[in-house]
Symmetry: C2
Subunit: 132 residues, 2 copies
């Protein structure tokens, strides 16, 4: 199939699929006559696989790893599980950061009257020269 169909069926954009070719993630054969990319069903499946992994917040680099595990019939499930566990703890770190940020910002908002007057505790806090 051509790139448009592969894109549609994988839920990716044509641009993205072409990009995955460019970075050697999924390289289709080219039709010699037209120079069009030709995707097989197996390649479509990989595109779908990547798309899903990306939605699970795996980076392209991690997608490459997952893809090679996917293609390797002799992999152990432990390897996949470890990659996923690492990803989960990365998410935990990010969750913590964001929660802290949220707490601090809502504290600032609660201190600010939000009226037409110029006094603003948020600006005051941002102007406070001590870091943090």
């Amino acid at each position: 199939m051509n790139i448009g169909e592969a894109a549609k069926k994988s839920g990716l954009t044509v641009k993205t699929v072409r990009y995955y070719d460019e970075i050697n993630l999924i390289k289709p054969v080219k039709n010699k006559a037209t120079n069009y990319r030709q995707y097989t069903d197996a390649e479509l499946a990989k595109l779908q696989f990547i798309g899903k992994a990306r939605r699970f917040n795996f980076s392209i680099k991690e997608c490459k790893e997952l893809l090679s595990l996917y293609e390797n019939q002799n992999r152990s499930s432990k390897e996949v599980r470890n990659l996923t566990l690492t990803k989960i703890s990365e998410i935990d770190v990010k969750l913590n950061e964001l929660e802290n940020l949220r707490t601090q910002l809502s504290h600032l908002v609660n201190c600010c009257k939000g009226n037409e007057r110029p006094e603003c505790p948020i600006i005051d806090e941002l102007s406070n020269s001590d870091l943090n």
Copy 2:
């Protein structure tokens, strides 16, 4: 003061401070003889302000807005508060996404034995062609 001192006192890197000059965020005067950037105390205060706002997850564009509010003695605290509230709801969206992701990933991890065998529900799920 020279850029190194301004960077140190603001907790930013020299590279970053130079970048802020380049994008017209904080433009110091240049010493004609040496071509060195000269930062005043007021500019240092702005660098500190920006640094803090960035740590609060405000984008450079938002920092520009905050900075103009900071510099405007006639601003209303409402404007600053609204910008901050917007930022909080953006953080909420991100928190939600990450929590969903975490739930899904830990569900996958719980289904996976993580042993030496190749059967892996994580890979199976990623291979599942229906989106989500």
